[in-house]
């Protein structure tokens, strides 16, 4: 299936986006401007495949490599720190949710057990009443 120039650009930008380890404001601005630049090129030039697009703009991996190679050490460490922090926040949130889920499960189980015991007591009482009535 032949894709339109617009779809090819969208796919290219999407491919680059998925390769970013974090998706901040700066990355979003970078991608928007990249798409703008590609659309400008597409208005004057023809291409019909991703290979042609790669030949002109480079592989999406290259785009990521270029992006990070332009950052200085301080910015790069800031990104690594942020990514690590994000990992901890996600892990902590998951742990909290898991603990809450297990707690609710334990309470439900306890209530269920209580209900079962009450039911058993009720059955004994009924049996006793049935034996008394004749």
């Amino acid at each position: 299936m032949k894709m339109s120039k617009e779809s090819l650009i969208k796919k290219y930008v999407r491919d680059v986006r998925t390769l970013f380890p974090i998706h901040g404001k700066t990355e979003k601005a970078y991608l928007n401007k990249m798409a703008e630049n590609m659309e400008d090129f597409a208005a004057d030039h023809d291409f019909s495949s991703m290979e042609e697009l790669y030949a002109e703009f480079g592989d999406p991996k290259d785009a990521i490599y270029q992006y990070y190679s332009t950052l200085d050490a301080a910015d790069l460490f800031k990104i690594i720190k942020l990514r690590n922090l994000l990992k901890y926040v996600i892990a902590f949130t998951c742990a909290i949710f898991l603990a809450a889920f297990l707690f609710v499960l334990a309470i439900l189980y306890q209530e269920h057990q209580l209900l079962m015991r009450e039911e058993a007591t009720y059955t004994i009482i009924t049996t006793t009443e049935y034996e008394v009535s004749p």
């Binding site: 400008d40 208005a43 480079g58 785009a63």
Partner: protein
């Protein structure tokens, strides 16, 4: 291939600033100029140019403006600022020192190899 990319990424900023110092350009124009003026020896992808320009813009070395092309379409042009010109001179100096140093190493090594062969 990776070694070539690494080498090119070091000189991309220099080439962008060099061409922008001549006149305001857009990304494709710079890419084409690099390829044409180097006789096809240097082929740098548009995104490499764009990324380096994006960084230079964030560092206030260059600025961008939109220019109407045709009836409706606008195109982003880059313009070099004074800070960019100063940075270009710095880069040119570093490049010349590096190039001179590498040439000296290679020339010395070639000379030694020739001498070894003669002995």
């Amino acid at each position: 291939m990776a070694a070539k990319n690494y080498f090119l990424s070091g000189i991309t900023e220099l080439l962008i600033l060099y061409f922008l110092n001549q006149k305001d350009c857009y990304v494709y124009e710079i890419t084409k100029a690099i390829s044409d003026f180097s006789g096809g020896a240097l082929v740098i992808s548009q995104n490499t140019i764009y990324t380096a320009a994006y960084k230079l813009e964030n560092d206030n070395m260059i600025t961008e403006y939109s220019k109407l092309v045709g009836k409706k379409r606008t195109r982003v042009y880059y313009h070099v600022e004074d800070a960019g010109r100063a940075y270009l001179n710095e880069l040119l100096e570093t490049f010349q020192t590096t190039f001179h140093g590498i040439s000296q190493i290679l020339t010395k090594q070639i000379k030694e190899e020739i001498e070894d062969e003669n002995e």
